[in-house]
């Protein structure tokens, strides 16, 4: 709202003029206090311009400048000005615009230092005025400088210049001082609004660039806010989405069921990532991950969902599984034929072959075997990771499993000059016997490969508090402490040359870990460098096998939004 002030073309001199000024400034101060004057000023820049004009006019001045404290430079510098039409002082204005005033210098510098307004009756004769000479030439005389205070600090100085020489009483100065404080208060508000706007802009920018779709609804389920990712996922423009009921984002067959048990759905979904079905504008149904949260606004509680389209991820998973099966078939089949042929050749089944050629055939056969093992291990891990491996859990005779594992590694052990022994104290373990044998064969192969010739590898089994523990101990080179975690990762061997030199795939322990975890058990290792390692697997007994948590029910997308209707008037359900 514009302040209406009367500006007589030429102010009368003397007492009348002073009284009038005082009145005007008081009115202005009161109006600034009630924020009327600056209500339309959207930014600080606008606010200052408006203020300078009002102040300049009410004090019969021709020129008003805003000096702001530049924290970095520790000087005052002009950031805004107002000029009356009748002002004819181009030199003065040009100088002002270039000035940087240090604390205590000139009229503005002194106000900055003192925090009090200063009135100079005639600046053209005042020694302390920086531009006294220019002011004299261009007919500028009286000047008033007012501090703008915020939290007891001068943040700016308003300087007003008049073409006349006049006196100003202390009463007016006092009023002007109050004005400076009011402006400071107002600026605090403007800065707050600006900060809020900047924060809004930042949030908007984050939302705009988010890969997740975001949809916010009011308590009735009416969409209030969406981001570009939401437009993309659902195929509607923001204009089409806003104001629409969130019900439209469900596949039609889910809409009815979404209307019942809303309360439970919302409670279950809040603070968790759940999977839903969404519905695009083109009629396509798709799966998505949804995380729901609520937030307060001045208009009341709002609900929002961050939504991720799973179509692409599911496609990738399908591709990954296909790739696994392609690798399985296309790589393994030819490799087994190659190995079969090489085995027949290497064993002289097809007739004698020269010794040197035989050496090469054996190299080829050995590497082929390694490649097949690697593929088998990779496929095995993939199958476990994809949940394709189901355990056939039963009470397994421990000695039988250990004996079977010994049979599998006996050839390797005798080739390496390692003896195998067992100390079995627990008769049965709860396990899938094929998979447990696989784990033991892996652990035993490692133990044998890393043990010095002539040493012994021991398998012991006993029952403890947490279940049945089976340990494989060797007196090999041991594992450095820094590698104790990594060895259970894929290709996490201590030495990168190990897989080549020791003939492993680098996946053995990762498979062991995956299988043991599938049993609900744990695997670990205690090792001393140079002294040997003991790998332990702990398998829980049936009573200790915790029932797996029930899977989250696959509620359709956005049902939770509709749950916003729970606490809302009855007519909402019909409205949706």
């Amino acid at each position: 709202m514009e302040l209406e002030l009367a500006f007589p073309p030429a102010a009368r001199e003397g007492h009348d003029g002073t009284a009038r000024r005082r009145r005007l400034i008081r009115r202005l101060t009161a109006q600034i206090a009630s924020s009327q004057v600056l209500a339309n000023s959207e930014t600080q820049v606008h606010a200052w311009r408006h203020l300078l004009r009002l102040l300049g006019r009410s004090l019969d001045c021709v020129y008003a400048v805003l000096w702001q404290v530049d924290d970095a430079d520790d000087v005052l510098h002009p950031t805004s000005e107002w000029r009356a039409r009748e002002l004819r002082a181009p030199e003065f204005v040009a100088h002002v615009r270039k000035l940087r005033i240090p604390l205590g210098r000139g009229l503005p510098g002194r106000v900055w230092a003192s925090g009090k307004p200063i009135w100079v009756a005639d600046m053209s004769t005042d020694d302390e005025c920086i531009l006294a000479a220019v002011a004299a030439t261009e007919g500028l005389h009286s000047a008033l400088a007012v501090p703008v205070m915020l939290d007891g600090r001068v943040i700016a100085v308003i300087e007003m210049v008049s073409q006349r020489i006049e006196a100003l009483d202390s009463d007016v100065l006092e009023t002007v001082c109050t004005l400076g404080r009011q402006i400071g208060q107002y600026l605090r508000h403007v800065r707050g609004v600006e900060a809020l706007r900047a924060s809004d802009a930042r949030i908007r920018s984050v939302l705009d660039h988010s890969l997740s779709a975001l949809v916010a609804v009011d308590r009735r389920g009416t969409i209030e806010l969406v981001n570009p990712a939401a437009e993309k996922i659902f195929g509607y423009s923001a204009g089409e989405l806003i104001g629409r009921t969130v019900r439209d984002l469900f596949p039609p067959e889910d809409r009815r069921s979404a209307m019942s048990n809303l309360c439970a759905i919302y409670e279950q979904s809040r603070g968790r990532v759940t999977e839903w079905r969404g519905f695009r504008k083109n009629g396509e149904t798709f799966s998505c991950e949804v995380s729901i949260f609520e937030f307060p606004t001045t208009a009341g509680q709002r609900f929002a969902a961050s939504i991720r389209d799973l179509t692409e991820i599911q496609g990738m998973e399908r591709m990954k599984k296909e790739l696994v099966s392609i690798v399985s078939h296309e790589l393994r089949t030819p490799l087994t034929s190659i190995r079969g042929s090489l085995t027949l050749l290497a064993n002289g089944v097809m007739g004698e072959i020269p010794a040197e050629a035989l050496g090469l055939v054996r190299v080829a056969e050995r590497n082929c075997t390694r490649l097949i093992s690697l593929i088998n291990d990779m496929l095995d891990l993939e199958r476990i990771d994809n949940g394709l491996v189901e355990l056939d859990l039963e009470a397994v005779d421990t000695s039988t499993v250990v004996g079977r594992a010994f049979d599998a590694v006996r050839g390797l052990a005798s080739a390496e000059g390692i003896s195998l022994s067992a100390d079995i104290a627990s008769e049965v373990v709860w396990a899938d016997d094929q998979r447990l044998t696989q784990v033991l064969v892996n652990l035993l192969s490692n133990a044998i490969k890393f043990s010095p010739r002539g040493s012994r590898v021991l398998v012991s089994a006993h029952t403890g508090k947490g279940g049945d523990e089976i340990q494989v101990s060797d007196s090999g080179r041991g594992i450095p402490p820094s590698h104790l975690e990594a060895i259970f990762e894929r290709f996490g061997q201590v030495e990168s040359t190990d897989s080549r030199e020791k003939g492993g795939t680098g996946l053995g322990l990762a498979i062991c870990k995956a299988i043991v975890q599938l049993h609900g058990g744990t695997i670990g290792v205690i090792s001393r460098e140079g002294e040997g390692s003991t790998f332990s697997i702990l398998l829980p007994r049936p009573a200790e096998l915790a029932a797996p948590p029930p899977p989250a029910p696959p509620y359709p997308l956005f049902n939770a939004f509709l749950a916003t209707a729970i606490t809302i008037p009855d007519n909402v359900l019909e409205a949706l």
Partner: protein, 122 residues
Amino acid sequence: MKVLLVDDEHDARLIGMLSLSRVGRMEVLEATNGPAAIATATAETPDVILLDVMMPGMDGPATLRILRATPSTARIPVIFLTAKALKGEQQGLIALGVRGILVKPFNPMTLAEEVRELMAAC
């Protein structure tokens, strides 16, 4: 011992044939599919049939059903060859009434021996 080896894959069949004949000193007959296997089995009456499970068209189990339903082949022992290593899958195959299962890829040096062991087992 006269063995009928049934496998649609040429390379696997060749290695199996060489393994059984050269290492195992067996007489080996070959067939590349189910109908050919039934024809050969009927004509030659082998001592045992090594039957691949996964074959295009008539697969191993389907071939087995016809062999069992044909009087002249009903009593010939059959051993399945399969790449399926899972216990559940193997049990399903055993339940169809075969002498045993050999998991592919097999070791050509021990294949014949394993066949003899399965034949001796009952």
